[in-house]
Symmetry: C2
Subunit: 143 residues, 2 copies
């Protein structure tokens, strides 16, 4: 049985579109923006250390990531230290305040999704979604 990738692509495109609009809707005022939370989370996972690396991972321009990183620093959620071995690089790290934000799940968007998942789906369906999530990650990186 051959998979109709065109239909699947269209289906993914539309469902992702609706999801993104719902997710983007306002968190509590003063909370970090969505791209800020994503960058903070990326940084916390430890795979990336500089703004340029974060930009590559999130597939946005270095300039856009620069703006996000600056805002996170102003909020005191990350620290920037000059790399002693490379004068161009600024090593980023999550501050204790940043870790607190991550740990306290203060991100209203993820909470919204988690609540929807618990409300809407059976254990089998959640398992299916859990298997699909890494595939979507791969798809994003592969495009």
């Amino acid at each position: 049985m051959t998979m109709d990738t065109d239909s699947l692509a269209e289906s993914l495109r539309t469902s992702i579109g609706v999801l993104i609009r719902r997710i983007r809707q306002r968190p509590a005022p003063g909370d970090p923006s969505w791209p800020e939370m994503t960058a903070l989370s990326d940084l916390d996972r430890g795979g990336e250390q500089t703004a340029a690396e974060l930009a590559r991972h999130e597939q946005i321009s270095p300039q856009s990531m620069g703006t996000i990183v600056t805002s996170l620093a102003h909020r005191g959620l990350i620290a920037r230290l000059a790399d002693p071995e490379d004068g161009r690089r600024m090593i980023l790290s999550v501050t204790s305040a940043g870790a607190e934000v991550l740990a306290s799940k203060r991100d209203a968007r993820s909470t919204l999704i988690a609540a929807g998942l618990e409300r809407e789906f059976s254990a089998d369906e959640l398992e299916l979604l859990a298997q699909a999530a890494p595939l979507m990650d791969r798809l994003g990186q592969a495009l």
Copy 2:
């Protein structure tokens, strides 16, 4: 085995974020925008007939959908006819030009995703994604 919905939510949120950024990147100049293609596709599937209905389905404000619909009409991809039974409603329909755009897959974004799917995934993985797609639809509507 209990599912960790918080982790799953976070995973979905980040992968969707990357996907959306890749997908949004420019189609051929002059092509309909992404929201325009989505609305056209919705209309073609026949479930919705007016701008307000499309807005509800896509979960955006009626005003935003109004802008999209106006642009589609200016492109000649849809027609607007006054509803003889309700003076407020404008019944939308896909024109032959609009059908052509849909049929010719002139939407570079879906083509991009389809190519990525074929390149990156096995038949089993595609099957998994195909099962997950409607769940993501449900999630979007449920949030």
